[in-house]
Symmetry: C2
Subunit: 412 residues, 2 copies
């Protein structure tokens, strides 16, 4: 007997028929003798509907009451799921964040989980109850409902799996697992059987929208094995786990891309100590995350400074940077929203030289100009003109042999 | 400075524009220097939508998870109301049943309030916060969310007013107050300035759907003055309060009707001790409420037994009674759903003879046959063929002089 946490996203519980399908899968797992905790998102579209209502009520609907409204979506799905399971003759109960309890800080809208009380859940599981837990929500020390931010249900599932010392955390979604790249771009994209936490972190934060970054950090920290799979089929999925020797043999695991960033360049910045602080502190104070930063070598005591921010922060960042540029006497500020970041990710990169030069070579042959470069131990990211995104992904995917059908996929 | 509880029903908060209108009224009351507690229902239609979802999930969606789902409607409105108030520059916070806390028993779907903790609300009110409380919901001793049954938000408001020792509980609805009868039937129906708790109890349970019966019982028990008024106008409303000398002068306060009952007659029941128990115990065990009961005088050791139940219980009751009739060897069971109950209510009836005979006289003159009669200290109810409902109401309304424009109405 194992303890299994299963998380189902909004598409998987988008209507009653789908909720009933999920209930059948949950019941099957329970009938195989496992203890099952189910974590659910809101029905697809529901969170957007609720957010729209708050925006009608208030121009800046942030804080305690915003979380109060949007946390209702998950409350409805867990109730409906438990009712479906009861109809099938199973013992099932719905639990809200504060009933578990999932304790968070008080950052409404993007709260972080601080601890999870497992006593009640353990007792319910022991008595044969399927625990259906609302994803995305928690409760702060004052008893106020908090939400974890978009995609927070993944984090709820992994955190619960960690707290309960579950044998497996299954993340059910509308794709069959993690692919070497976007199958919409490369028809021969291949599903990975395994990826390491680190690779998944790079992929999650780089634009493969299957797993939320924070949930992978949680999984890595507590070594929770996470199986990403489809709720619409019985295919095997992708296991996200600790790096093992097999993985090191694979030099490159996947190619990802992200069109949601914008580039800002400050031209002819006086090159003296303390300038970087003057540029980036105001951005951080405005809660704007800066992703890539490139500073060119200095000519006649001046340099160009280029960085990327998410497109949603672009206008705010430009306003701040224009003010900063005036103060530090830079010559100009140039923004560009027509960019894409393409990344090559692989745990095996660590021990293989030449990945970077091969990347640059492949792109150069296609006439794709590289605007920025950033690297880590297990990834190389380049910024290119957005119009080259698909081309860049396709040629890199082929150049690193990712499309080959080397690995035989099991089908569950 | 007073402490005022204001309750707004589903129509009053049916969309964001209406919520904003209510918020303006709430803000005005707060700006006049009062402490304000706002109790809200779900947006009109929302509870029905949620109930329909639970019925899709489960044939008999009763219990803990049903309450979990349908309690979300109020959670959304209190969040949106607080956000609207905040947009207007007011300090406002939303509170769920378990956050107040409103403690109930564990009768999911029709829980009863056992106690209310006022500490947090009092502290918030003292610090200038408008407390926006979810109606219709509470929490049981185990921390599970409960709901109070349809119309439960009225009870929440009155119970909060009692617990907080509020100066006034205002119930805002889509009518301007309590009328001498349904204005759709009598164009000259008159709004009452005042009614006693007892009269209101008779009216509430007899079909005037403005205030929920339980809320009036609560108001009577704790002597909470309740002002029923419209959220769409500034008209004065009707005060429900302790009986005073003025009220005693008014013999009849109003005529109500109820088309939601059905009549069941058991024909030729052997007239011996213990028969009534055999008939009514199975009904009570099936949670069927019996309203009026009439037993005719006995002929040759047999009698006819007639009673009414709500139409929603009619089929179930007929099935039970047919089984009982076989056991007690009654001759036949006859059901009739084409009936209406018309009632004359008035605190002044106690000290006035002749109301009953006048009632019968008036109806007889119109050729309306009375099928059943039931009386209390302050009301007389008769069951008639449903087709005579409007006629009976109209002639009684006129006969007791209720349409006269004796009382001059203040306009707020």
């Amino acid at each position: 007997m194992s303890l299994i946490v299963q998380k189902y996203g909004g598409t998987s519980v988008g209507n009653i028929e789908r909720i009933r399908n999920v209930a059948r899968r949950v019941a099957r797992t329970a009938n195989e003798g496992h203890e099952v905790v189910v974590v659910l998102s809101a029905m697809s579209g529901e969170t957007n509907r609720l957010v729209a209502l708050t925006l009608e009520a208030n121009e800046f609907p942030i804080g305690r009451e915003y979380d109060l409204v949007i946390s209702t979506g998950e409350q409805v799905t867990i109730g409906l799921m438990a009712l479906c399971l009861q109809e099938m003759g199973m013992k099932a109960k719905g639990f809200l964040g504060h009933q578990v309890a999932i304790i968070t800080d008080s950052q409404f809208g993007s709260a972080r989980i601080e601890s999870i009380e497992t006593e009640r859940l353990v007792a319910e599981l022991k008595s044969g109850v399927i625990a259906v837990v609302a994803g995305f929500q928690g409760v702060d020390a004052g008893g106020d409902i908090t939400t974890l931010g978009r995609g927070g249900s993944d984090t709820t599932a992994v955190a619960l799996a960690a707290a309960l010392k579950a044998d497996l955390c299954e993340i059910y979604t509308d794709v069959e697992g993690i692919y070497t790249t976007d199958p919409n771009i490369c028809a021969d994209a291949r599903k990975l059987k395994k990826v390491s936490y680190d690779e998944m972190l790079e992929m999650a934060s780089l634009g493969a929208k299957v797993l939320q970054t924070r949930s992978v950090e949680f999984a890595k920290k507590y070594e929770v094995p996470v199986l990403v799979r489809s709720s619409f089929s019985d295919a095997g999925g992708t296991l996200v786990c600790k790096e093992d020797k097999d993985m090191e043999k694979v030099v490159v695991s996947g190619i990802t891309y992200n069109k949601d960033e914008a580039k800002i360049s400050i031209i002819r910045v006086p090159d003296r100590p303390g300038i970087a602080v003057k540029v980036f502190r105001p951005l951080s104070e405005a809660a704007i995350n800066v992703d890539m930063i490139v500073q060119n070598i200095s000519h006649d005591a001046h340099t160009d400074l280029t960085f990327t921010v998410s497109k949603s922060d672009y206008k705010k960042a430009m306003k701040i940077i224009k003010e900063v540029a005036a103060v530090i006497e830079a010559k100009d500020v140039i923004g560009d929203t027509s960019i894409a970041k393409v990344s090559i990710v692989g745990a095996g990169m660590r021990s293989h030289a030449g990945i970077a030069s091969k990347t640059f070579d492949v792109l150069a042959k296609e006439g794709i100009n590289i605007q920025m470069i950033s690297t880590s131990e297990i990834k190389i990211s380049v910024v290119v003109d957005v119009k080259y995104t698909e081309l860049a992904v396709r040629v890199l995917h082929e150049a690193f042999g990712l499309g080959k059908d080397e690995v035989v996929e099991e089908k569950g």
